[in-house]
Amino acid sequence: MTLFTDTFLIALIAGIAAAGVPLLLAGLGEQLSEKAGVLNVGIEGMMLGGAYLGFYIAWATESTGLGFLGGILGGLLVSSLMVLFCVRMGLNQIVIGIALTLGAEGATALLHHVQFSRLYPRLSDVATWRIPGLADIPIIGPALFDREPVVYLAVALVPILVYVYRRTHLGLAVQAAGDKPAALDSAGQNVLAIRSFAVLACGGMVGLGGAFMSIVGAGVFVPFMTHGNGFIGIVLAMLARGRPLWVLFGAVLFGACLSAATALQVAGVAIPTDVVQMLPFVAVMLVLLIAGRNAKLPAALGAAYVRGER
């Protein structure tokens, strides 16, 4: 039987989107937070919060749209703790980020145990938006242009964020909060408010990525299901060094390598599985390290801002 049929190729390319969208949203969110000077190590927890609340609301209301909003809310809830402890109270961002991730893992596992562990409810297929014309392209069309609305939204966020960073006062203020917060303060802007906004926006995006994972990617919520995707998002953001387009490139490359790894295994290629599964990580690190070697991270990244302190 021929393996590389249209159906198989469509499934592989659709897999790129399924794996890449949560990473893209996580990477873009982390990038925004880092631009404002907050190293948000807690996005794995935010993603889990979004995955849980998104799935819960989608299941309870039978509305995937409300589920995605619930995912944003879940991410916001966890990120509000990051705002409180790191931005407002100035505590160590790495320690709090790890604590939030561990806390979210425990809390969502406990909630799952109470609510779902006897039933394991699964969602039915999510409605897709078919883009006329593009969806008719053989193989690529059905895989990429007949997708859930969140896929298009995630990709659309890339040019939107590029525009915000380059052309708006808000973007300038966010980057100043990460590069020279004292200068921003001197200019009459509220550094803590801008950092709070960036962290909350990050939480919303990452939470949406988590909801995509549970509602579309899996159709079910299970404990620890984000499986390190938040941390990969941090890596993408760090290596993309402030450029949203590179986050998109990294997420697509990662998803493509995952699909390629599956294809190699299904084809029975005689390479050890561990080697095949290193592909996504090695490829993304290599490409982004080469591409981003001249870029710089924000000067005040990871440092709490206290007015008057140098």
Binding site: F8, L12, H112, S117, S214, H227, G268
Partner: protein, 345 residues
């Protein structure tokens, strides 16, 4: 405090007297009043974690041993939890995850507590460490026979959440069962990730790819990720537009089935834990490892309503051949053997 010291002193004196009067080792054999079990996910997953906890509780009830359950610990470093449990001085700590098989012997040695680990048979140490690489390979062989008899497309798929020895031996045996029944059938094999036990989204993605590659029966091995596999077969039609059926492992997902669960290679770990307790009481702990098999019923194949009676009868005939020794299913714990069997090399 005084009472405690007095009691401890009396115990030491009695022990010393026992030695000096030459009491037999049988009388001195260790008593075990409690055991602790650690699992990475909750004991309600209809799979690995649930079977582990249920098995330990059942063994404890049967042999009068209190069971301390520490569940949902994740796949990270469990040393702090192990140390806390060791302070309770259980007679045995069962570290029910392959990811714990470095930390558990380490903490066991540190605290002087016996430990049981999985997927590490060479760690056997007299008096302190045993392994129970429970392999349902005989049941998986039967699952392969069943899949071969029920596939419409001529292609079956194997999805696993990693390549630990237990999964490998079942994947290999499943492939052998398929090929022994019909050598012309195609087997497609894919691993979700290096240790993707809870990666439900990955489970769904990879399973969808196998279905797109023509598989209409999926043999899935994963913990939380198996729910993603189940979701994939429920939402993705086979190439002929019909249902894709799912064969699970370890637990019985019948209560949550939507009509796609063909069977499951069921494990019963109660006899394994009972044997460990009895070996501790007989001062034999650490002299052997433990396993499960078809003969004593610790491995079984689930019969669902989707299996026609005639096919079930044929599968049970193969089971009888395995139990009688007429058909021998050797376990292959390494990934290379699985790859070779799947590709037919």
């Amino acid at each position: 405090m005084m009472m405690t010291k007095t009691t401890k002193g009396a115990l030491r004196l009695m022990t010393a007297l026992a030695f000096t009067t030459g009491m037999s080792t049988a009388v001195l054999a260790e008593e075990i009043t409690s055991l602790a079990i650690l699992t990475p996910e909750t004991g309600t997953d209809f799979g690995w974690n649930q079977q582990g906890i249920d098995g330990a509780v059942a063994a404890g009830e049967a042999l009068g041993v209190e069971v301390i359950v520490a569940e949902n610990l994740g796949y990270g470093d469990v040393r702090p939890t192990l140390r806390e449990l060791a302070e309770e001085e259980p007679g045995l700590i069962v570290a029910h995850a392959s990811g714990y098989n470095t930390a558990a012997p380490e903490i066991g040695a540190e605290a002087g507590v016996k430990v049981a680990i999985v997927d590490s048979p060479s760690a056997l140490t007299e008096g302190s460490v045993v392994d129970y690489t429970a392999s349902g390979h005989e049941g998986a062989y039967l699952a392969g026979v069943l899949a071969a008899k029920m596939t419409r497309s001529g292609t079956v798929g194997i999805v696993t959440s990693g390549e630990p020895p237990s999964w490998n031996s079942q994947s290999a045996a499943f492939a052998e069962g398929v090929k022994a029944t019909n050598p012309e059938l195609v087997i497609r094999y894919a691993v979700i990730g290096p240790a993707a036990y809870s990666d439900a989204a990955g489970g769904k993605r990879v399973t969808e790819s196998l279905i797109a590659a023509g598989a209409d029966i999926i043999f899935g091995q994963g913990n939380g990720s198996s729910f993603g596999m189940l979701q994939a077969v429920e939402t993705t039609p086979a190439a002929d537009g019909g249902k894709v059926m799912f064969i699970d492992v370890i637990g019985d997902k019948t209560p949550i089935d939507k009509g796609y669960l063909l069977s499951s290679v069921l494990w019963n770990l109660t006899p394994v834990y009972e044997a460990m307790i009895e070996d501790i009481r007989a001062d034999k702990f650490g002299t052997r490892n433990y396993g499960i098999n078809l003969e004593d019923g610790s491995v079984a194949l689930l019969k669902s309503p989707h299996i026609p009676e005639d096919i079930w009868g044929e599968v049970m005939a193969v089971k009888d051949q395995i139990v009688s020794g007429e058909v021998v299913v050797e376990p292959h714990f390494d990934a290379e053997s699985v790859h070779a069997l799947v590709t037919g090399e």
